[in-house]
């Protein structure tokens, strides 16, 4: 045991050095880059079963923490301004904001708060959490992919993810009849965060 005891301060020192050098890999907080708009919240829904209608929310905000060593320490929060729904058609968007759909005067925001994040493979994640939409909160799962991370050319550090999920409109009390092919909406999120 003696040799070990003699070495232990060195081991400790080496361990400390390693730990501090890995300090950046502890959970890191990122702000979603909505200023530079390197992020988008898109959705698509079938039109009559014949084609895809796509749209997006122009205004949203959020942040995430990401721990690449221990992904389960990660967390993501997104808040969407429901008034900013945009399908590139003024009358349809007006209709979507009305009480037939999003009822934005009553429910001006939709939120997603993650409850657990699991690494499923290299660069793929399963994100569980609660989506609050139209005043209804329900658990959803987002299949996400890490696109990349690293220094940007302007002195910052960024990480970006992409995720998809599917929700049934009726689950959120949105029951306007768009036909059987249009019961579900697919969401696609692209979120780039700037390290805080």
């Amino acid at each position: 045991m003696k040799p070990f005891n003699r070495l232990s301060p060195f081991i400790l020192a080496a361990g400390l050095m390693l730990f501090s050098s890995l300090g950046w890999s502890a959970p890191v907080k990122y702000q979603i880059d909505t200023k530079g708009m390197h992020a988008s919240i898109n959705f698509k829904i079938q039109h009559l079963g014949y084609s895809w209608l796509t749209g997006r929310f122009d205004k949203f905000d959020g942040n995430f923490t990401y721990d690449k060593e221990k992904v389960s320490n990660s967390q993501v929060n997104v808040t969407i301004d429901t008034k900013s729904v945009n399908t590139n058609h003024a009358e349809r968007d007006k209709h979507l904001r009305s009480d037939d759909f999003l009822d934005v005067n009553k429910f001006p925001t939709a939120t997603f708060v993650s409850s657990s994040i699991k690494k499923t493979a290299d660069n793929t994640l399963n994100i569980k959490g609660n989506l609050t939409l139209h005043g209804v909160t329900k658990a959803i799962e987002i299949q996400a992919q890490k696109i990349g991370e690293g220094k940007d050319p302007w002195g910052g550090y960024r990480a970006g993810f992409s995720g998809t999920t599917l929700i049934k409109l009726a689950d959120y009390g949105i029951t306007y009849n768009l036909g059987p092919a249009s019961a579900n909406v697919y969401f696609q999120l692209n979120l780039e965060g700037v390290r805080q």
Partner: protein, 183 residues
Amino acid sequence: MKLTNTDKRYGWTSIGLHWLIAIGLIGLFTLGLWMVDLSFYSPWYHDAPAIHKSVGVLLVGFMVLRLIWRWSNPIPQEVSGQVPFLNWVAHSVHILFYVLVLALGVSGYLISTAEGHGIEVFNWFTLPAVGLKIEEQADTAGEIHFWLAWTLIGFATIHALAALKHHFINKDKTLKRMLTPRD
């Protein structure tokens, strides 16, 4: 055919424009109230708003013609034997109609063009969007459009009742001279 106004009488142009716009406005009001509640599966879901917008654009065009006609023609004198105050009220309501119809046109236009797309008038031409970007433009313009429409119909009811009162109670020419230029 007497097309122009005289000091005593409305010509056919004024009469024609009056009734064309009157019928058009009542039609648009009814169509507008009905179309906003159509279901996605109604055969009129797309056609009703398209007709509403096309007729609306044309009607505003006729209203502009009517204003030009009014400014370039004599305005017949009031039917004699009226209280000056009531003449003033009637005149003010007429001016209000011009303002309301134009404001209805502008507010309707601002709903449909809120995202930069023009308005198709039948299959004839497209009225381009001016590219205004007002915050919550479509929703605010929609609210204003709705209340202007009800205000217009309210005053139009009073206007019609007043005309009937002139015809049946006062037994004067007020209503008749809006039907024909002849004596």
